[in-house]
Symmetry: C5
Subunit: 321 residues, 5 copies
């Protein structure tokens, strides 16, 4: 589905371009076409492939989706794949955006993702002095937007981990903690898959030899790289903490089991000792002087109670109860 | 066993080549021989070695099998070893394909594998404009086919892991879960052995200096590389999740043990307390007024029941029962 | 908030520069302006950005904070981000300092941090022969100060770990140990985040091609690098020991549980055996000669005691009690 | 102890060389001396050092033994150290071979190893066209032989692991499994120590600049490298599986403990419930109508039996028994 | 404290140099001063700094100590820091040696270490033909000595680990094993800190561009590197085995707990069953024919005994007792 398609000249919007006139604008030397497509159908992709003369392998990648993030050069055309990650209930939904960039056009093909890039386009149009840098700047703006959207997701994961940490040390809901830790780990893997390959890809866009359209934008791409590096580092750190949290949680569970065993032992003692005494006075010997004694029964009950009170406080003191 | 052997000229099939005429076609400058052999016997290999003038070390590798995937150059001849992985009941069967490529022939020797490359040949013959690229393109097509066949296998493993995750958190069949996780790990190692060395090998086929027959096909081999990189990344991710799942499973098992201990403790209490009370009234003291009381017996039974009901609900509330 | 702003000429302080005269001093070729700002408000930053002609991306980083440590060149301007880590009760507070360096000025912007750099300035002013090296030397002095402040924090963590080790092997407070180990791990991650990226950044300041203002100061920056390398190595070592300590602690907990189980078993035996004997003599058989025997009761009690004493010592010897 | 010493000319054996005539042969330009020494005594080594003019540091390495595998150049002399690993009961014995290679001689010094290199010499002598390559080829042949002997050892370890896996999942002999897994780990470390440094060493013998005697033999050394890479990969894979197996085994042990606890609980219940009932009818109340009832005793016994049968089947169904 | 200070000319000792004459000897072109200082006081260091014109940063490092091992060039002066590790009861004491090397002097400053370098000096003086190489050779000799002293320490650790392994599988003293494993891990970290940075440092002393005084000594420094590589590899291997041993030990402890539980269950059964039977015959039913039977009591005792013997042998067979 075509989202929109606009021609810019010298950083300023000159026209909305209907699909039929794309070719006319691509032929003009002086203008830049920025086209956004969403969840395209097979025939739409085929048409784009023909009109923009996309390389068959790149077009196939866009068609199949589920690529890993990457940056590739097909002759003059740059081809960028990025993952778009959006919260989806308790899980993460992984969408994808494929961007084709040449000197005179930027074509973005977005799939399986709710959020569009209208904000990016709006900001670019507000800053014509930057948009004048050409297609490379649009490419930067799109990448920057995708990367910036990873941060709140990672923050949410971090918060989730902090909540679990509190619960682990409070000793509550160990089962739910395990499940949440596992789920955090899965989300981190999803984010890692989005970030790590892109980090490598973006590093080719500044510094040494860079593609032609990126010339002069090195500081911008380095900024994207820097954000990715920060994300990557944070992901790795949380990942390590999750592993630690899992093993810490196991220790806490084992400690709790110990508590249960201690409680069990203490309660057993409280019951077993009176039972033993009662058993003794239940013996049928003919000569058991206590049995004849008038205060035998109450004294025995008293002894049982005293022993149990004593044991109770000892166990309490030893924190078994 | 010879599967088939066809000569192509300018991307078009010109003849099926019987084994005896191989030499004639190898001598012609203008045509390309594509020969496929399967589970060859010793003498067949010896004949191929002589006819194609294969390097003794490469021929020995093909003879012995069980090589790691690799790409080697013996003078003008390229020698590629890839693993063919096919599901075999609950396990994976590892076959092997050895490919010898020179400017004017491609010889593939397949071992211990059910699936052939007829689909690759058919597709190549349908696209003569690509087949015209020569033996390098056939080499690419074979590699691409082998790599693409890894994806469904990895998907199956991923699905298997997801099923186990559900079972882990549902707390069912811990023993089977452990066994399955171990088996997944083994399969991942098998896949890793197929993918990782090939990733390294393929990286030599595009970019800088590439073998002569691969010239102009850089984007194709980069595509294969990209698929391998994706496989590799996914394998590593699943591997990490399996490790996490194993330790999470241990935590769940320990939690279950705790549940068993709690249940045991609760049941013991329900039985032990009435036993203690009964013991007390089983004592033989002469002066135990309750024993004379008419309602002593039913009241005692009642007290036992009330205590047990109370305990039962307390345990229920504490989730011990 | 402006902390202070001083102009130096030939290594000697010549004037305190009020904010309004900054421009005048920046225009003079012969002097060096060193300005320190703390927790600046939005409008202050905007003014600084304009006056020092900072690159928008760098200024934005300073504005948003929460960057990872880094070193970037924007044309002639060097931009350095470092984390300032200060103890905050049981936790660590992570502040940040952004330093802009050009040939004729050093501007440091400090956020969320208590400690200032007055000591650095004082030391620099005491050593005019070094300050004469120019802005590069001030940059070194600031970096050196930040890095040196990491050491006592790491030492405190090391001491904390040693205390926990003692407690682990003494078997006391396992729950608190786990929590402390987790907290140490978190602090190490915080330090690692401060140190590791800076290690990489500083390595660009000596050796090969270095920014112009750093020329001739290679040995100083190598010294900073060396300190960072030492910190990094120690962090990694403590991190590994924490992981080991967590698993060692789990072993100790499991051992303690075993002790509890043994104690439970021993106590159960001490009670159960007399109970069994009492039960036997509580049977109502008509012909039980012992029951008639005058010494039956005391002898039975004696036997119970003897058995329990025997068991007690056996358990004691086996360390079950 | 001198094993043997033979002079070759143009790939053909020309003479057995007694120790005294070594010098004569070393002086001849046209022939190649291949000498093998085993567990040499101090004075023998000193003599070799003098006669072959070995570098003191290399000679010292040969004298002390227990080197890590390596490849070093001392001027024109190549010095190779390899580990020879042989099964020794349940353990592995690590021997060592030091090889000195120059254009006109190969001297191998073997220590602490049973197997000799007679088969290598025999094969070389059968293939004079290869032996004609000179000392580099003998060096290759020796390295190839040493490396090939690692494979059966690794295969044996793999088989051992498979047996343990079966036992782990069958739940038998957990103690022996742990011990075997640990021992496998140790053997893998031994192999790793032999293989990993050699992998690095051999990589210098083909490809770029290679020592003079290795020229033209690149494909042979690449073959050795390839075998080492395969060994290395397999060692790493088994190592990872051993780690997994250890943690899987722990899970199985914990599960078994749970089974024991369940059994214990079930049996306790089967005994405790009749005991409680018996206790109740052992009470001495005057008014307990059941006691007077003629069928009281058999009915009570019957109730006990029925309850136990019911419990038994419930436990059986829940797999507690 | 000055240990000694000797001037050499052409590899031969020419004079003991008192501190006051150092300058005179440093001015002579033809001789080499080798000075050894131990635990110097502040003022001694200051004097050395002035006399040898040491770089302030290097002097500061020597003053503060607790550096990581490193090799640095300050102009013509080489500065080497190495850790000296000596056994100190059950722990390791980490001393430090700082070596300053120039063409005409070697100054070693040793701190917190018992062992001196008299043996190195003695050996050097015995081999004037090597000492003639100049200060580079002394530097090598010192490094070689420090590195060689690591080996016995690592051997002791290895032996300690082997002893623990035996105890783990014998099932004795699990608590002490854990503590020892932890302590081994700590010692390995100490050694690693000494070895790993030095490995990196020494690699700059042979091969490509080397400092002037090291020219022609490449094979010697490669030998040191080789020793360090062996140490490093062994440290890593032991470290991995320690990790494995910790987890294996946990498995053994869990198995032992299981044994305790089994024993507990078996003993409980041996006592509970007779108790139950006694309880039954303690019931007060009027009609219990067995009670009247003359042999009732002995037969009941007999049945109890038979059941217990039967149970005992079943438990024994199942290895629960």
């Amino acid at each position: 589905m075509l989202v929109n398609s606009v021609a810019y000249c010298n950083g300023k919007k000159i026209a909305d371009v209907p699909q039929g006139e794309i070719h006319a604008y691509l032929d003009r030397k002086d203008c830049l076409l920025w086209m956004a497509v969403r969840d395209p159908e097979e025939h739409e992709l085929a048409e784009l492939e023909r009109e923009f003369e996309l390389h068959p392998l790149a077009a196939e990648d866009a068609r199949h989706g589920h690529q890993r993030p990457k940056f590739e050069e097909y002759g003059e055309t740059l081809f960028i794949v990025m993952h778009m990650i959006e919260p989806d209930g308790d899980d993460l939904r992984v969408g994808e955006v494929n961007i084709f960039v040449e000197r005179d056009y930027v074509l973005s093909v977005r799939s399986r993702s709710e959020r569009n890039f209208q904000d990016v386009r709006a900001r670019c149009e507000r800053e014509p002095e930057l948009l004048r840098h050409g297609s490379g700047y649009i490419m930067y703006a799109l990448m920057d937007a995708v990367v910036d959207r990873y941060f709140p997701i990672l923050d949410a994961i971090e918060t989730q981990l902090e909540n679990i940490e509190d619960r682990i040390f409070a000793g509550t809901s160990p089962r739910a903690n395990i499940e949440s830790l596992y789920s955090i780990k899965q989300k981190l893997m999803t984010l890692k898959h989005a970030v790590a390959p892109m980090l490598e890809a973006v590093s080719k866009l500044f510094g040494g030899r860079v593609p032609h359209v990126c010339t002069g934008l090195g500081e911008y791409f380095r900024d994207v790289y820097d954000h990715l590096a920060r994300l990557n580092q944070t992901i790795d750190a949380i990942r390590e903490m999750v592993t630690t949290a899992i093993s810490v949680n196991l220790s806490m569970i084992t400690l709790q089991e110990q508590d249960v065993t201690k409680k069990l032992a203490a309660c057993a003692a409280l019951v077993a000792v009176p039972t033993m005494i009662a058993g003794i006075y239940g013996m049928n010997f003919d000569f058991m002087p206590e049995l004849k004694w008038k205060w035998g029964y109450p004294v025995t009950l008293g002894v049982m109670t005293v022993i149990d009170i004593y044991l109770f406080f000892r166990f309490r003191k030893a924190k078994w109860l």
